[in-house]
């Protein structure tokens, strides 16, 4: 990879034209699309199943262990409290997730107490995958996974997309990647 001439060219370009950084397109002003409302149902069902399993486990443990059965009301209150907290946090997380496709990069916003925005330029995308979970498939949803060479912390997973939309996005990304080469 003959970087040498290229970089010197770039350096010259750079000193020739001064870029006004205040007029660059701003990633922070991008409008994000939110996830499909049905995806919230998928999350709820998934959480519901795990709560049921955990709840049943705790219930059985309480039933057989007499030492704890006197605290049953406190423990169930605690359990309900934890469930509510988790539901609340999941809702925030769901609300906050958003994505945007610009001409040259893809943006993904996520987080609960923090707002994280991950930006991947198309010319750094390694490959794209489309994943359908069992529950999501039932609701006609799919997940787009975008991988870079930066390791798992820099991959974007956009869940809760309409299957057709996901296919379109994948085609769009594949086209973008190809154009870069």
């Amino acid at each position: 990879m003959c970087n040498k001439p290229e970089t010197t060219n770039k350096m010259q370009d750079f000193t020739n034209e001064t870029i006004d950084t205040t007029h660059l397109p701003k990633f922070e002003e991008v409008q994000f699309s939110t996830l499909h409302p049905n995806y919230w149902k998928v999350i709820l069902i998934g959480l519901g199943i795990s709560f049921l399993i955990i709840g049943a486990g705790i219930g059985i443990a309480l039933y057989f262990n007499e030492k704890f059965s006197s605290f049953i009301s406190e423990l169930s209150a605690l359990f309900v409290f934890v469930v509510l907290i988790i539901l609340f946090l999941s809702r925030i997380s769901f609300k906050k997730k958003g994505f945007a496709f610009r001409t040259h990069d893809v943006l993904f916003r996520y987080g609960i107490i923090a707002t994280n925005t991950l930006v991947i330029p198309y010319n750094r995308v390694q490959h794209v995958a489309l994943h359908e979970g069992l529950l999501s498939r039932f609701f006609g949803l799919a997940k787009i996974e975008i991988f870079t060479a930066g390791g798992s912390s820099s991959d974007i997973h956009i869940p809760g997309l309409d299957k057709e939309q996901a296919e379109n996005i994948k085609q769009l990304l594949m086209g973008k990647i190809q154009k870069q080469l």
Partner: protein
């Protein structure tokens, strides 16, 4: 050979069912072995019908799952788009698409099970993630070789005009065809001595500590006596001499650390030579066994320069250069360390890597809240825990309060220097992150090595306009926390502009 048709989706060899069966069985047994062991031990007590029923149903489920896996696993090459497409999954279906020119490696392997079944495994590696993206478990040898050629056909075309495609071949041809140039940098024995006595205190300290602990453990096991028992030490020395003994032990321990460090450094890096070859650097070093590494400037992702106070006075520093790790992120062998350069040698190496010496540009400082938060984590929380437990602990160790004061002072000093040294310098061509308390490291990256950027802000930091930045590269992340968010966002826009307008290859 080339007439095998990969354009239509096809399954693996039929014997693949068997291979998958054994692999799945292996996985299940790995997951369930505690239960199996318990069953075996209690074999007499367990109901035989349940036992054999369990085993039979496990086998049956495995067989069905492997058959379904086999049915649903297909692969083909999409000639129009130059993509390799794999669909797999029984319940969760997934479809992976890989651009042929993104493929870094295709490996053909054979495990014992595969050898018995007479098939091969074909694994495709891209730089995308740390695991193998595609693993075709059962494929005949001819088909595997054929597929490999087809998958890599693209790369061979590319590699005509850029010569970095296959590092191993490159290394071989370069070494064979060219006379090795006279080294332009030789790390002197004196520099190694300087580095040996001034670096890696903490690491060596823990290695020696672990060594002593295991030693005492062995002695305890052999003799049945605890060497470290408190009363014993007091038996040997007078009360008044305790302090001198502690001092003596401390000095002894510290000198052991230094000596071990020195010996390690010299054995590892003796006769360190760097020579130039076709624009690459060839490094060779080692006392017992000489190691050679090739360093391609264009593959360098992160360059780290580490120096502490003593080393600055003695004019030595350590360089750590990380190259693109290919498919295996976390493969630390890709980091190359050059110990004991002086400033002049450092500049020569940096010039080779970057074509010029990186300069520190605009400086970003973290907000004082970063110091506050680190202090809270490292002092506040432990002290809180100590408050709860102090009643019990103080009875046993009366000296504990002194230790706590010492700990707090030590951590405050460390955190203060960590905060003071944490800076991000940005200019048009380089991003330099400075960090560290005692050993101060400057990590240098070029904006076009960035793979992705994360900016992050806690909701209560919105009003005071501070936030964090993470730059993801192929050799790891670079993070700068709680800086001026407006400035960070502006630079992110600028870097995105630079990345997206240039076509230079990042690798």
């Amino acid at each position: 050979m080339m007439d095998a048709n990969f354009n239509q989706p096809q399954r693996q060899s039929i014997i693949g069912i068997l291979v998958m069966f054994f692999y799945s069985l292996q996985a299940y047994i790995k997951a369930l072995w505690p239960i199996l062991v318990i069953w075996l031990f209690k074999f007499d007590e367990v109901n035989k019908i349940y036992f054999f029923g369990g085993i039979v149903s496990l086998l049956a489920i495995t067989a069905i799952v492997s058959y379904l896996k086999y049915l649903n696993f297909t692969f083909y090459i999409d000639q129009e788009n130059d993509e390799f497409i794999i669909t797999e999954g029984v319940f969760n279906k997934s479809k992976t698409t890989i651009q042929l020119n993104k493929i870094q490696q295709v490996n053909i392997n054979q495990s014992l099970i595969q050898r018995l079944a007479g098939v091969y495994e074909l694994a495709v590696d891209t730089a995308g993630s740390n695991k193998k993206e595609v693993d075709i478990k059962a494929i005949s040898r001819d088909l595997a070789l054929d597929l490999k050629t087809r998958l890599l056909a693209n790369e061979y075309n590319v590699s005509v005009d850029n010569q970095g495609a296959n590092p191993i071949n490159d290394v071989l041809t370069e070494i064979n065809t060219e006379n090795v140039e006279i080294p332009f940098i030789k790390i002197s024995f004196l520099s190694l001595l300087k580095i040996g006595i001034t670096s890696n205190y903490v690491k060596s300290f823990f290695i020696i500590l672990a060594f002593f602990i295991s030693l005492f453990d062995h002695i305890k096991q052999l003799t049945g006596k605890d060497v470290l028992e408190d009363q014993k030490i007091e038996d040997y020395v007078d009360e008044s001499n305790v302090l001198t003994v502690i001092m003596l032990l401390f000095v002894l321990f510290f000198s052991t650390v230094v000596v071990v460090n020195l010996v390690k450094t010299i054995i590892r890096y003796f006769d360190f030579k760097i020579s130039r070859q076709n624009g690459s650097l060839l490094l060779s070093y080692g006392l017992m066994n000489t190691k050679s590494t090739i360093l391609k400037p264009e593959k360098v992702q992160i360059t780290g320069i580490t120096q502490n106070f003593f080393q600055k006075k003695m004019n030595v520093l350590e360089l750590k250069i990380t190259q693109a790790t290919g498919g295996e992120v976390g493969n630390h062998k890709q980091a190359i360390e050059i110990p004991g350069c002086n400033n002049f040698e450092k500049d020569a190496i940096l010039k080779l890597i970057f074509q010029k010496i990186p300069e520190k540009g605009v400086r970003l400082k973290p907000n004082f809240r970063k110091l506050g938060f680190s202090l809270f984590l490292t002092i506040g929380l432990p002290l809180l825990g100590y408050c709860f437990l102090s009643d019990i602990l103080v009875e046993q160790f009366p000296m504990l309060d002194c230790l706590v004061v010492f700990y707090v002072l030590f951590i405050v000093v460390i955190q203060f220097f960590l905060f003071k040294n944490n800076r991000l310098y940005i200019n048009n061509d380089f991003i330099i992150l400075q960090s560290g308390a005692w050993d101060i490291t400057n990590k240098i990256i070029k904006p076009n090595k960035i793979q992705a950027i994360t900016v992050s802000q806690l909701f209560w930091h919105k009003n005071i306009n501070i936030g964090s930045l993470t730059l993801h590269t192929a050799a790891g992340d670079i993070s700068f926390q709680l800086g001026n968010f407006t400035a960070i966002k502006q630079y992110v826009n600028f870097w995105l502009y630079k990345i997206e307008t240039s076509n230079s290859n990042w690798i």
